[in-house]
């Protein structure tokens, strides 16, 4: 019997152990939804990858041209840049369990 192989995209995650996660979060001004997304993401990272994460927050009100170049439509948009593959999710990230699952953050290995 073949050994079960990790699903596509998770290999890099597994080997990401100990390395820095890289996120970009797009918000639009200090709206409650944008503020909530920043807080939710920071809390989650501190808990699951303390010291090994980098979050770049881009406020499109201040840098509107990035909405075009980075193809942003919905706010908030979170882009996981590292580990690869790049993954996008949208929303205020209030449901921590779903965020962990969607971003392949293996609670044990992270």
């Amino acid at each position: 019997m073949k050994k079960p192989r990790p699903a596509a995209g998770t290999a890099s995650i597994e080997s990401w152990q100990g390395r820095t996660w890289d996120f970009t979060l797009y918000i639009a001004g200090q709206t409650p939804r944008s503020v909530a997304a920043v807080e939710n993401l920071e809390n989650l990272c501190r808990r699951h990858m303390a010291g090994r994460f980098r979050i770049e927050v881009i406020d499109l009100v201040l840098q509107p041209e990035l909405a075009r170049t980075d193809q942003i439509v919905a706010i908030p948009t979170l882009v996981r840049k590292r580990p690869l593959p790049v993954r996008r999710v949208i929303g205020d990230l209030s449901d921590t369990e779903r965020v962990l699952r969607s971003l392949d953050i293996n609670v044990r290995s992270a």
Partner: protein, 491 residues
Amino acid sequence: MNAIRPGPLPKTPTGIEGLDEVTGGGLPTGRPTLICGSAGCGKTLLSASFLVNGAARYGEPGVFITFEETADELGRNVASLGYDLDALQARKLLVVDHVHVDRSDIEELGAFDLDGLFIRLKLAIDSVGAKRIVIDTLESLFQGFDDQATLRAELRRLLRWLKDRGITAIVTGERGDRSLTRNGIEEYVSDCVILLDHRVNGHVSTRHLRVVKYRGSAHGTNEYPFLIDEDGITVMPITSAALEHRASEERLPTGIPALDGMLRGGGYFRGSTILVSGTAGTGKSSVAAHLAMSTCERGERCLFFAFEESEAQYLRNMRSIGLHLAPHVESGLMRFRAVRPTLQGLEMHLVQMQKLVRDLEPAVVIVDPISNLVSAGSAEDARSLMTRLIDFLKSRGTTAMLTNLSTPHGLEETDLNVSSIADTWLLLRDVESDGERRRILFVLKSRGMAHSNRLHEFLITDRGVDLVPVEASAAVAETTARPARRQDARR
């Protein structure tokens, strides 16, 4: 309650030929208009025309938000209409922004809004000072996101936001099964809704446009055919059949002196409609060629729609009877348009005929023969086309001659029943007498003028057509008509 009566609704011209007539001046200024229709119906091209015309002709810069095509694809598609989007963008008269929404790579984790889209719109609008915007197609948003409640709220906010900025907007939507658009966008656009349609009937395709709704404004409610070609989009308003054409007293020589004599006063009325009907080979085209000749000889233009013969064939045949049209073709006074009726639908014929008339502004238009148009549609459709063409020509003061092939049994009927809209009706027929076949012409009617009621023998000579009255004493029965050859033309 005494409401303040609002002034006339300000309108923004689309610059699309015909559409501004149908809408009484264009789209509602500062408000969104929904243009819906199935795939390939011309939504994107119509929207692009609105922006290009705005930028190039009305000094109103525009923004094109495209969801489905990239800026390059859009540019290539509208290049077929002669539009150069790159040049307009370089001149800061246009911004094209391709908004890419791919549901497969976006997961929704919690509440969101479309502020990113709003920011892009604002950036694009501000960068050129846009007065017009196109969003093609809003439907893509519904495919891109799951949370329909959020989407609908955002859609409402978007349209309100555009209104607040006073931007004249076109949003497009895909035709739905039971509603105008797949996601019911029409619910949110209350000001103006235009439906495009692309139908194929008997292998012949026709595009139609209909103004479904236009709040606060009168608008034509018919379906109007429209055409997309290298000159852009042309919508053909069905000219109101209101009988308000000016009735000219001026006469146009028929080109046949004897016929001028039969129509007391010297020819057809300018701007009138002349029907020439007869069985095969009786000389209908020759009568038409005489009119063409005399028109061109006066230095006026003549447009000839040939539905049966090619230009070369026609010129050769007419040359053989002494009518030399070729020099007039070379000088540009005479213009042939030979088309096979079945090549396209009747509506397209009408649209193209009207367009050519607008472009050339001929004094005389000849259609030879109208009976062939039936092959491109039903007799009813062909009749409707002729009625509309005649209305159109009359409203322009253009003289029209229509030839019609009739059957020997129904000489005084026309397949298309257009005789009632003809002002002058010439009938040509064959008679047999003394073992000879002769052609006879008579004037069945000619409104507003005294005319000869006598049968005339129709002689085709090498110097054109001549007419000789048939002897009064002769029995004018169909079989024995005998013309008084070369006698004094008693009338």
